[in-house]
Amino acid sequence: MMTNNKNIQIQKIFSQSEVYLLLIIIIYSVFVAFLNPSFLSLGNLFNLSKSSASMGILAIGVFVVLLSGGIDISFTAIAISGEYIAVNVLLASGVDNIFFAFLISCLVGVSLGAINGLLVSYFKIPTLIATLGTLNIFHGLLLTVVGTKAINSAQLPDCFKAFGATNVFTLTGSDGVRYGLSVFTVMFIVIALLTWLILKYTMLGRGIYAIGGDVEAAERAGLNVSRIKFFVYCYAGILAGIAGIIHVSLIRYSNPTYLVGTELSVIAPVVLGGTRITGGVGTVIGTILGVAIITLLNNSLILIGLSSFWQEFFTGLIVAISVSLSSYQSRKSMGI
């Protein structure tokens, strides 16, 4: 009896895609560490987590949208709009405060997200078409109205550079090199935790899972589907705004043509993390692990000796394979 229970438990653990992702990460890390021992140093891991934070925050936004059964491809345009407008407002007003920048970027993000939400929840436009339209509207308006001029590191307000260099704590390695846990990583973790709490413990979060699973059933159960969908797109907008500021603080350069066109590299980790585009299935942990795998892959392609030309090919391959796997799994679980 005991062994039987244990078997079921083990089976349950291995039926979760997160376990496989974790295994892949561990095996892959050991492999890379074997080739290059400095890979597993705390400094390198901190660095990787710092540079992937902005992608991770965008991915969590996309994750919530996918969970509700939709798709958002306008988030890159929202992120770059929030970031570029914030930088320009700060430059014009002379206020040099990172919180002000976050405020502006999030305001832009939430209002653009609200437009998406309105189109999807009220006008019931298919999400892909709605966000494809808004992607072009947002980005086009940004370039025509706000401008196309890139702002380089020297012109960029100091608060961004200071924010980019902020560490929560700093350690000094045995070789005297100082490294620390970036505030970006902490923000990513906080946002991931917050999203997990919303999804797990609030009526709203359960509603997102419910409408992703079956809209009709959710509506009959008394959930306000339009309001939940509206919230989902606003939330993705806010996260895009935050990610935009982190992105500019990381690269210390504000170019309004950046980010747009990299949608797939953010959607890839979400899908890889086991989130189903048909909605209702997926976890925050899976998304984080997906982000980790994509970051590892991108960073080690050059290490393996493949040029950056291959990056797009591999991103596509990962999406195609993980979509196929999750579709196959869902069919198997339904017994068809």
Partner: protein
């Protein structure tokens, strides 16, 4: 469409109503027209094909490699230019059919959602094109190949003739064959079509292959018109092609839409496009307008469908 035509003619009489403008318009229509047909096919089944432009790019690169003699250089030596061109075109079409087969397999047999499957293959196909060309363009095709994209017969541009031919074929396929009938059935209700004995998977695979084939045709016209191919070329066509489908009355959830509506949508978009070119709009502001139009049409569709559905609801009650 008539409205757009009249507005453009009234405001820009000297520039809009000229033969050269109509000729340039009709040589631009075929490229994204064929891509729009490719996307329409996928939309009719209730899916979408985001990879058409990548397929066109990859097929174009394949054709370009043969045309410039990088692949099978022995062809050019003994057999002459015409054979090289024919082989190149066939090669491009075979590539596009294979790409379509991959899409169809993922969507029909693995049952992957069409949006994500084609989003993934979009990256794969254009990734392969980038790896082959190392990101550079390929230029310099044989003179007689350029006739496909630039030549005229009785001052009718060659691409337009090809396009009309392709449209007629597609109209025949959709309206007169059992495949076309089954395609519409599948799009409006896949479960019902399965229970009425239609091989859903077979139809889906053939649909995506046909979609890939039309993307391949578009790529031949495209590379011949501009005498070069570069990965990423024509990426702006995706928004336009989807816009044309929606303008032409194709229902993105499947089952509804016909080729004549699509053609009207294509002509309307092209009239606006060339009007904007004459007015020297920036590409960014054009994107804003296309995006706005896409949303606006969808919103109008929402209102018209909610009005037409209302009486039915009353009857049920």
């Amino acid at each position: 469409m008539v409205g757009a035509f009249v507005v453009m003619s009234v405001f820009l009489p000297g520039k809009f109503l000229t033969l050269s403008n109509f000729q340039s318009m009709s040589s631009q229509i075929p490229e994204f027209g064929l891509l729009a047909i490719a996307i329409m096919l996928a939309m009719l089944t209730g899916g979408i094909d985001l990879s058409v432009i990548s397929i066109a790019n990859l097929a174009g690169v394949g054709a370009a490699l043969i045309l410039t003699g990088s692949l099978f250089p022995q062809l050019g030596g003994g057999y002459g230019e015409i054979l090289v061109i024919i082989v190149a075109i066939l090669f491009a079409l075979v590539i596009s059919l294979l790409c379509g087969l991959v899409n169809g397999f993922l969507i029909a047999y693995i049952e992957a959602p069409a949006i994500l499957a084609t989003l993934g293959t979009m990256s794969i196909f254009s990734g392969i094109a980038i790896v082959i060309t190392r990101g550079y363009g390929i230029t310099g095709f044989p003179e007689s190949f350029l006739f496909i994209g630039n030549g005229t017969i009785f001052s009718i541009p060659m691409p337009l003739i090809i396009f009309i031919f392709c449209v007629l074929i597609m109209a025949l396929i959709l309206n007169k064959t059992s495949f076309g009938f089954n395609l519409y059935m599948l799009g409006s209700n896949p479960i019902a079509s399965r229970f009425s004995g239609i091989n859903n998977r077979g139809i889906l695979v053939r649909t995506y292959m046909l979609s890939g084939f039309y993307a391949g045709l578009a790529s031949i016209i495209m590379i011949s018109r501009v005498n070069s191919i570069r990965p990423g070329y024509g990426s702006a066509y995706l928004l336009q092609a989807i816009l044309v489908c929606v303008l032409g009355g194709v229902d993105p959830s499947g089952g509804y839409g016909n080729i004549s509506g699509l053609v009207i949508g294509i002509i309307m978009l092209q009239i606006l496009q060339s009007g904007f070119n004459i007015l020297a709009f920036s590409p960014f502001s054009k994107n804003v307008i296309w995006g706005l139009m896409l949303i606006l049409v969808m919103v109008l569709n929402f209102y018209s469908s909610s009005f037409s559905k209302r009486p039915k609801k009353l009857k049920i009650q």
